[in-house]
Structures are given as structure tokens and as C-alpha cells.
């Protein structure tokens, strides 16, 4: 019996050829990309509505929600944003990354249904039990806080469903390689997605290890797990899953900068090594959340927060150079050679996918990366732990970085996979700017209020009587930023859903161009392939970045030196 071919070009394979890129699209993969992306955007909208309510409550002057609903909605927001929206959208990205770039078909339709069904069932269970008021435990559900068993069961279902989807991804990679659907090593987008999938497996196993005994405890079958053990393992899920987001986001940067500007990684060996560094050196990131915990010693904390000399941070600094450098080379080769930054002004800033990607790189690097490494420094954590500085950091990584990159991707996914052009294209061009601005304001508000000691996850700061007008002012900035970001999110969701119903259909023609920089007369693609000093603008930008990093980092050591001596 001949081996069944999983190549997209094999006869009888459900596929089509994309009218825009000329690449093959597996129709099975397309269906599940659609399903998972739509589910993701629905949960994004739910989480966004929750975000608006929270921002309007922490904005002390407005103080909208009553106390019980504040914590309920905060739990709901965390679960819907950090788990549901991100995981559904990542499964969509994985299904894309293992089919079209490899000219392969999806391994199994049935497995994809099982994965989607489990994730959706679990998601509905969790959301229902939170809104029903039986799981006011925050996303982290730190023991001895205890939620209704359905809360844990729902999370377990979502995690296992995601694992099943990740299995489908690996199986597709395997048969594509076996059937020689492609030759050579996988493209960098697929490589990055594979790194994300590997970290996801490790992450979700941590989730199983911590959630199953907590579930059995909530049923009364087993004794209560130790709270310190719970924190250690739970953050193996909670923090590492953010590294899945980073990998997926960086893959999206490579993908979109290639599609829009024609960028290519200047050195694939280095980029790929950076992805491997993520896999190898992120697995102890749980420590970031235990830096002022009892029971784990200084040596453990110092070693595990820098994971062998910050090699995962190094990886992000590599991508932070390679992505803009690839764009700069592509622009210079197209003939935009004016000065150091002439290529920057010629970039398609009105293309929402491009502006979304560029903002994602800048917000993630300058704000998210710098604050993350600094707050995750063992001793500096003393002046940051559980203050609003922490959400001030992760809203610029996972929202300003990952979510904005995923939104940017949607501006191509919907025309290319759903085959409909966007409605209200002028509004779409503004959306990433509005969302990005809102998130940056939100993050500044949180970070500065946090520096003044305002705690995260607190309904009312006036009860303590210790926070002055400056803290209230920054909470107002948080509120305004939250409202702006919510409007940006709502516009995005409405544009996507509206396009699915009313967007002009694309059949065998190219999608409407969002704006791509044309090659100027006399330019030649590949002309700078061997010029190692062509990225003048990028090297200036990254050195400015490093200077900002160093200033912020040492300013925090100074602030730490001013508090009481403690051991």
C-alpha cells in the first residue's frame, strides 16, 4: 500500500491556490484557522468589556463597580485575555504555520475538531462559573483560596484541548517532512511557531501538574496542596505561557514584515538560535513571581531569575535587532536610501498590519522588555512585587506586544483566509494607533501609580489613606488609557465581525492592497545581501534602546538603595 501523501499538491487534497500570494492553502486548515480565530476574537471582546469596567473602577474618581463585581470581573478579564483569546488565536497561527509555508495539508480534521470542542467547552465552563460568582479567586487562584470545581475542570479542558491542537501541529510537521512536501529546513515563521509549540507543551504540563490536584482538592477527594508549591508550579504555567506568546509574536513580526515590506532575516542562523534560547532558558521563569517569597533562598532566586546569564533576554534583543534590520535592508534595496532614517519615513504607516507590527515591536521592546527584566531582578522586585508596576509591565508585553501583533495579523488573515476585503478601511488604518496609544497610557498610569506603592488587584486605594494626589492622577491616566484601548479593541472586533458578514468577497483575485512600499526605479532586490554595514538606522535605534534600558535599570537600583536594609 502506498504511503498517503500529505502534500498539498497531491491529487484529491482539499486545497486552493491563494489569489494574492500564489501559495497553496489547505481547506481543512483554513476551516480551523477561521473557527479558532473567530472564537479568539469573541473572547478578546469579552475580556475587553471586562477591561473597560476594571479601568473605570481603578480610576478612583469614577470607581464604577461594587467590590464583589470588581474581583469577579478581574478574574474574568485575566482568564479571557491571557488564556482564552491568546490560546485560540495561537492555535489558528499554528495551523497556518504548519500547512501553507510547508505546502502541506493538515494532519487530521477529527483531531482539530476534538481540540476545538474541548477548548470551547472548557472556556464556556470557566466563564460561566466566574460570572455565576463561584470563582472569585483571580486568574492565579492561589490556594487556600478555593473556587468551584468547574473552574479548575474548565481550565484543564482548555489546556488539554490546546495540547491536542499542538499535537495536530507536530503531526502535520512530521508527515510533511516524511512525504517531502518541502525540502530543506522549515521557514523561520514555522520554526518560531515550532518553538512556541514546544514551550506550550512544557507549559501545559505544568498546568496539568498543578490544576489536577487542585481540582481533586476542590472536590474533597485529596488534601490541600501546599500554597508555596502551588505558586511554584502554577507560575510554570503562568509565566512560561507568556513565552509562548513571545515566540508566536516574534514569528508574526517575521511573517508580516516579509509580506508587507519584503523583509528577510539578515542572518537566519542567529535568528533560529535565538528561538532555541527561548526554549532552553525560559523554563524556570516561574522564579520571577517568587522573588520575595518565603521558602526559596537567595541563590535559587538569583540563578533562576537570570536563567544562566539572561540568555532568553539575549534572544529577544537579537530579534529586536533582526526584525527592523530586515525591514531596513528591504527598504534600502527598494531604493529608499536617504540618510539614516529615510527608509523609516517611507514605510507604509497607513497600512494597519504594518503600523500594528511596528508598534508591537517598539512597545514590547522599549516598554515591556525593559520593565520586565528590571522588575524580574531579584532584589529590585522588593520595590515592585504585587504593585501596579507588575500589570504595568505585562500590559505592554502581552497586550501592546502580542495582542497588537495578532491584530495586525488579522488584517491579512481575514482577506487571505476568509477571502473578504475589510469594510471601513479608513477606520482600520487608525485602529492600531488608537489601541497602541491607549495601552501605552494605561501602562504608564499603572507603572507610576505602582512606583508610589499602589497595589494591583485592589478595589479601592482610599481605604488605606496613604496614597496622595499623584497616585490618584496616575490612576486617572490608567483610566483614560483603558478607555482609549477599549475603543481601539471594540473597533477592531466590529471591523472583523462586520467584514465576515459584509466585506466584499475575494474570489480568485488579489486582496485589496493595504499599502506596500513600491521598489523605486533603478533599485535591485538582494543588492545589499553582503553589505554588513547597511543597517545604519537600526543600529542607532537599538543603541538608543540599550541606553534607555541601562538608565531605567540603574535608576531602579538607586530607588532600591533608598529603602530600609533588609535580609
Amino acid at each position: 500500500m502506498p504511503t498517503p501523501s500529505h502534500s498539498l499538491s497531491a491529487p484529491g487534497t482539499p486545497g486552493r491556490v491563494c489569489g494574492t500570494t500564489g501559495l497553496g492553502v489547505c481547506l481543512d486548515a483554513q476551516r480551523f484557522i477561521k473557527l479558532n480565530a473567530v472564537a479568539g476574537i469573541v473572547f478578546l471582546l469579552l475580556g475587553g468589556i471586562a477591561a473597560l469596567l476594571l479601568a473605570l473602577t481603578r480610576w478612583q474618581t469614577v470607581h464604577l463597580l461594587p467590590v464583589d463585581w470588581f474581583y469577579r470581573i478581574l478574574t474574568f478579564h485575566g482568564i479571557n485575555m491571557l488564556i482564552l483569546w491568546i490560546l485560540f488565536f495561537e492555535i489558528a497561527i499554528l495551523y497556518f504555520a504548519c500547512t501553507t509555508p510547508l505546502n502541506a495539508r493538515l494532519f487530521s480534521r477529527k483531531i482539530a475538531w476534538v481540540s476545538f470542542g474541548m477548548m470551547l467547552t472548557g472556556a464556556i465552563m470557566v466563564d460561566y462559573i466566574i460570572i455565576a460568582g463561584k470563582a472569585d479567586v483571580m486568574m492565579t487562584s492561589y490556594l487556600p483560596l478555593l473556587a468551584h470545581p468547574l473552574f479548575y475542570l474548565g481550565i484543564i479542558l482548555v489546556a488539554v484541548g490546546t495540547l491536542v491542537g499542538v499535537f495536530n501541529f507536530f503531526a502535520t510537521l512530521y508527515v510533511a517532512k516524511r512525504d517531502k512536501a518541502f525540502t530543506g529546513s522549515v521557514p523561520i515563521v514555522t520554526f518560531g511557531a515550532t518553538a512556541a509549540a514546544i514551550i506550550a507543551v512544557v507549559t501545559l504540563l505544568h498546568g496539568a501538574v498543578v490544576m489536577i490536584p487542585t481540582f481533586t482538592y476542590s472536590m474533597g477527594w485529596t488534601p490541600q496542596p501546599d500554597p508555596a508549591w502551588y505558586r511554584l508550579i502554577w507560575w510554570g504555567l503562568g509565566h512560561q505561557s507568556q513565552q509562548v506568546n513571545v515566540c508566536a509574536m516574534v514569528s508574526v513580526w517575521y511573517l508580516l514584515s516579509h509580506i508587507i515590506v519584503g523583509a528577510r532575516p539578515i542572518n537566519e542562523a542567529v535568528c533560529r538560535t535565538a528561538f532555541v534560547l527561548y526554549i532552553l532558558f525560559i523554563n524556570l521563569a516561574s522564579a520571577h513571581h517568587l522573588l520575595v517569597d518565603p521558602g526559596v533562598g537567595a541563590t535559587w532566586k538569583i540563578w533562576n531569575t537570570s536563567y544562566a546569564m539572561y540568555l532568553a533576554v539575549l534572544a529577544s534583543m537579537v530579534h529586536g535587532f533582526t526584525v527592523p534590520a530586515g525591514v531596513e535592508i528591504a527598504m534600502r534595496e527598494k531604493g529608499y536610501t536617504n540618510g539614516i532614517f529615510g527608509w523609516v519615513t517611507a514605510l507604509p504607516w497607513k497600512n494597519p498590519a504594518f503600523s500594528g507590527t511596528a508598534l508591537s515591536v517598539v512597545i514590547f521592546g522599549f516598554l515591556g522588555g525593559i520593565t520586565g527584566v528590571t522588575l524580574g531582578t531579584q532584589q529590585i522586585n522588593i520595590i515592585a512585587h504585587n504593585t501596579l508596576r507588575i500589570p504595568g509591565h505585562f500590559h505592554v508585553t502581552v497586550v501592546g506586544g502580542t495582542t497588537l501583533a495578532f491584530m495586525a495579523l488579522a488584517y491579512y488573515v481575514i482577506p487571505l483566509i476568509f477571502q473578504r476585503d475589510f469594510i471601513f478601511r479608513g477606520v482600520a488604518r487608525v485602529q492600531p494607533w488608537l489601541f497602541g496609544l491607549g495601552i501605552v497610557l494605561l501602562s504608564f498610569g499603572m507603572s507610576f501609580a505602582g512606583s508610589m506603592g499602589v497595589s494591583r488587584r485592589s478595589w479601592d486605594i482610599d481605604a488605606q489613606g496613604v496614597y496622595g494626589p499623584a497616585a490618584h492622577l496616575w490612576l486617572g491616566v490608567l483610566g483614560i488609557g483603558g478607555v482609549l484601548a477599549f475603543v481601539g479593541l471594540l473597533v477592531f472586533a466590529l471591523l472583523c465581525v462586520g467584514t465576515l458578514f459584509f466585506g466584499p468577497k475575494i474570489e480568485k483575485r488579489a486582496m485589496a492592497d493595504w499599502g506596500t512600499p513600491p521598489a523605486l526605479a533603478g533599485s535591485q532586490s538582494g543588492s545589499l545581501a553582503h553589505d554588513h554595514y547597511a543597517t545604519k538606522g537600526t543600529i542607532v535605534l537599538v543603541l538608543v534602546f540599550l541606553a534607555c534600558f541601562a538608565v531605567y535599570y540603574f535608576a531602579n537600583w538607586k530607588a532600591l538603595a533608598d529603602v530600609w536594609p533588609v535580609r
Binding site: 538569583i302 537570570s306 512585587h385 554595514y533 535580609r567
Partner: protein, 183 residues
């Protein structure tokens, strides 16, 4: 190309600007990783995580004994929504042990410390996890039930300090507070 398989030869040693940036990045990561051990030996603010397992009932008993032996006054909380209107003020001996309980929703007892003296402050929770957040200094430590978390602390500024709870612990969490006076 980002969307096409990698072609051979795939390895190119970093050169030019890329090499400069990689060098800077590696050096910076090295500096950051050395800062933490440096501060551990030379800096004055460290979280060593010194802790002992303890049953909540035992920790309560130790704290009650500490309060009975060292109480110097009573603190009346005049905040309109204070959940604990009165707390004993307790002054531990200089260089000695002090006990502080976090429970829903106050820190017990209030402490009076002397400027420049060093104390071993034992922190534990009786019910849920709590967050010890000393304001307006903004020093933060995690407090878990079942663990006696010991901070060796030296007050270097005078005044009235408020302990806020910064780990979610239910409906009264936002108003959970305690006091440290430094004289």
C-alpha cells in the same frame, strides 16, 4: 525568506552591525547577571527567603505571647472604614524577634521599632495568602499560611508607616492594613 524553506549554506557568522549589536547585548546581559550576586554581598536590600514551616495555630500562640510580653500601648484607628478599630502597640526588644500576623482583614499587632536597630520580623498568615506592603516606603514581601517568613529589618527612617495588603484575600482586601511606628 521568511515563508520559504532555508537554503544552504545556512550558516553565516555574524558580521558588521549585527556583530556589534550581539556584542553589546551579550555584554549587557553579563552586567545584569553580575549585579544580583554583587548586591547580595555588597547591597543592603535582599530577599533571602528565610522561612520555617509553622502551623497557623502555633504562629498565633507565639504572636499572642509576644504581644503579652511587650505591649506598650493601644493604637486607635480613626480611618472611617477601618476593619480593625484597635490594635495593641508592641515594642520588640532591640535586636530581638517581632511577630506579625496577616489575616482577613488586618495585620496584627501594631509595632513600635527604634531607628537604626535591627529586628527579626516573623511574618505569617492564618487563613489565605497575604502581601506585606510597607507604605510609603514601598517594600513588598509575600506572606503564606504555613510559612514563618523571617525578615531581618533595620528601620532607617522615622515616622508612621502603613502595612497594606497587596495579595488578593477576599472582599475586605482593599481595607486590610496595619501599622509600624519608628521612633
Amino acid at each position: 525568506m521568511s515563508l520559504t524553506p532555508l537554503t544552504k549554506p545556512w550558516f553565516h557568522a555574524p558580521a558588521g552591525h549585527e556583530k556589534i549589536w550581539l556584542g553589546c547585548a551579550v555584554l549587557w546581559c553579563f552586567v545584569m547577571s553580575l549585579m544580583m550576586p554583587y548586591w547580595h554581598f555588597r547591597g543592603k536590600q535582599n530577599s533571602t527567603g528565610e522561612a520555617y514551616t509553622v502551623k497557623p495555630a502555633d504562629f498565633l500562640a507565639r504572636t499572642e505571647k509576644f504581644v503579652a510580653a511587650n505591649q506598650v500601648g493601644t493604637y486607635k484607628n480613626t480611618q472611617h472604614n477601618a476593619l480593625m478599630p484597635e490594635l495593641p502597640i508592641v515594642e520588640p526588644p532591640a535586636g530581638g524577634d517581632a511577630y506579625l500576623i496577616g489575616r482577613m482583614w488586618h495585620w496584627y499587632p501594631a509595632l513600635r521599632l527604634r531607628l537604626g536597630e535591627t529586628y527579626r520580623l516573623h511574618l505569617s498568615a492564618l487563613d489565605l495568602q497575604h502581601g506585606f506592603s510597607l507604605q510609603p516606603l514601598n517594600m513588598n514581601f509575600q506572606v503564606l499560611p504555613g510559612y514563618d517568613h523571617v525578615l531581618t529589618l533595620t528601620p532607617t527612617s522615622k515616622g508612621e508607616f502603613t502595612i497594606v495588603c497587596n495579595e488578593f484575600c477576599g472582599a475586605g482586601h482593599h481595607a486590610m492594613s496595619g501599622k509600624i511606628f519608628v521612633e
